[in-house]
Amino acid sequence: MKRIAIMDSDGSNHRYLTGGKATVTMPRFSPRGDRLVYTGTLAHKPRVFVIDIASGRERLLVPGGVITFAPRFSPDGRRIVFSMARGGNTDIYVVDADGGTPRQLTSAPGADTSPSYSPDGSRIVFESDRSGTQQLYMMDAGGGGQRRISFGGGRYASPVWSPRGNLIAFTRIAGSFNIGVMDPSGGGVRILSDGWQDEGPSWAPNGQFVMFHRTAKNSGATALYAVNINGGAPRRMPTPQDGSDPSWSPLQN
C-alpha cells in the first residue's frame, strides 16, 4: 500500500494527502504547486487523478473505465499529458486539466509512456519500446516530428526535462537502474547514481539537484535520494516511512 504525502524538501512537516484505500504512485506537482496529478486505482485499474492540495478534493481525469497512468502537467498548467493502455498497446494522450476529450499524440505499436514537457511547452520527451527496447524520444507538443534521441548502451526510461530546459534526467537500465542526465539532443550522457534500482527522477526547482528513489535489492525497501548534477554521492532524504516517486514542487513563498 502506498499513500501520497507532502513534506518540506528537508523532510519536515510531512502530511498525507490520500487515504489508504488504493495504491498510489507517480504524484507530480502542477506548475503553481496548488494541485497534483497522480496514478491511483479505481475498479482494479490504474487511473490518473487530479487533486487540489488545499481542499483535498480529487477527481478522475478520464472517466470511462480506461487504464491511465504516468501523468504530468504542461508548463502553463492548462493541460495534462499521460499514457493510456488498451488492447495491448500504450500511447500518449493530452487532455485539458479541467477535463474533456483526450487527444492522442502517439500511435506507434508498443509502450509509449513517461511524457514530460519542455519548460517552454513546445516539445515532449517520452520513452518508447517501438525500436524493441525502451529508448527516449522527442516530439512536438502536438505529436509531430517523433524521433529517437537515446543511442547509448542499455535501455532508457522515465525522462524529465530540467527547469532551464538544458538537460533531461532519466533512468538507465543496464542490469541495475541508474539516474543520469543528457542534453535534449541525446548527447552528453552522464550517469549520476549507482544503486541496485534507482528510478523516477525529479528536478529541484533550481536545476542543481535531481531527486529519485532507490529500491534495495531483495528487501524491496525504498528511500529518497538527491544527487548534485555536477557529481558527488547521492544523499539520502529523510522520510517517516519508505518513500518513492518524489516530485519536487516549484518554489514556494
Binding site: K2, M7, S9, H14, F69, A85, T90, Q134, M211, S249
Partner: protein
C-alpha cells in the same frame, strides 16, 4: 546562492509497511453490496466486488487462476494456453460472473513501463479467453505493474512468480 535555502516541497509516495496484498481470496466475505456510484460515474468507474467462493471454485476446477510469462515477454506458451482454456471452460459454465484479467510484472522494469507491460500480459490472456468463446463483455483487463509482487526477493525464482496474469472473478 545560499546553500541553506529551502527548495520547496516534495510530494512522494510513502509505503505503508506490511500491506502486501495477496490476490488469493480474502478470508472474510465481501460486502453484500457496494454503495451506488455517483451520478457522474461512467461504465468501468465503479469498484469491483471480488467473489472468494467462486474464485476458489475456479482454482479447483481449472487448476489455477494464474498464468506466467518470460522476462519482458507477453506471449502464451503451451502450458499457459492449457490453463487459460480450462479457465475459459469454467467461465462459460458460470455465466453470472465477470473476470478481471490482471497483469503483473517483476521488479526489473521501471514503474511506468511495467504498467504497460502488465496490460500487454493481461490483454494477451484476455484475447485467448475470447478465442475460447468467453464473451468480451465479461472480460476486463488491467495492470498492476510491479506494485503487487507475490514473491519477495531479487532472484530468478521470485521474478518468475511475479511475471503473471491472474483471472480475478468479480461482479
Amino acid at each position: 546562492m545560499r546553500k541553506t535555502v529551502t527548495l520547496g516541497m516534495a510530494a512522494i509516495a510513502l509505503t505503508i509497511a506490511g500491506c502486501a496484498r495477496k490476490q488469493a481470496a480474502p478470508e472474510v466475505a465481501p460486502p453484500v453490496e457496494q454503495a451506488p456510484p455517483g451520478e457522474a460515474a461512467a461504465p468501468g468507474d465503479v469498484e469491483l466486488v471480488e467473489l472468494p467462493a467462486a474464485q476458489a471454485d475456479l482454482v479447483a476446477k481449472a487448476g489455477s487462476d494464474t498464468v506466467y510469462f518470460g522476462t519482458d515477454k507477453y506471449d502464451l506458451d503451451e502450458a499457459t494456453r492449457a490453463t487459460l482454456a480450462a479457465q475459459a471452460r469454467w467461465l462459460i459454465a458460470n455465466p453470472n460472473v465477470r473476470a478481471s484479467i490482471e497483469g503483473h510484472c517483476d521488479e526489473r522494469g521501471t514503474r511506468e513501463y511495467n504498467m504497460a507491460l502488465g496490460e500487454r500480459r493481461a490483454n494477451a490472456a484476455r484475447d485467448f479467453l475470447l478465442s475460447q468463446g468467453v464473451p468480451a463483455a465479461r472480460l476486463l483487463v488491467t495492470s498492476w505493474g510491479k506494485e503487487r509482487p507475490v514473491a519477495p526477493g531479487s532472484n530468478e525464482e521470485a521474478w518468475a512468480q511475479n511475471r503473471r496474469a491472474v483471472t480475478v472473478l468479480v461482479r
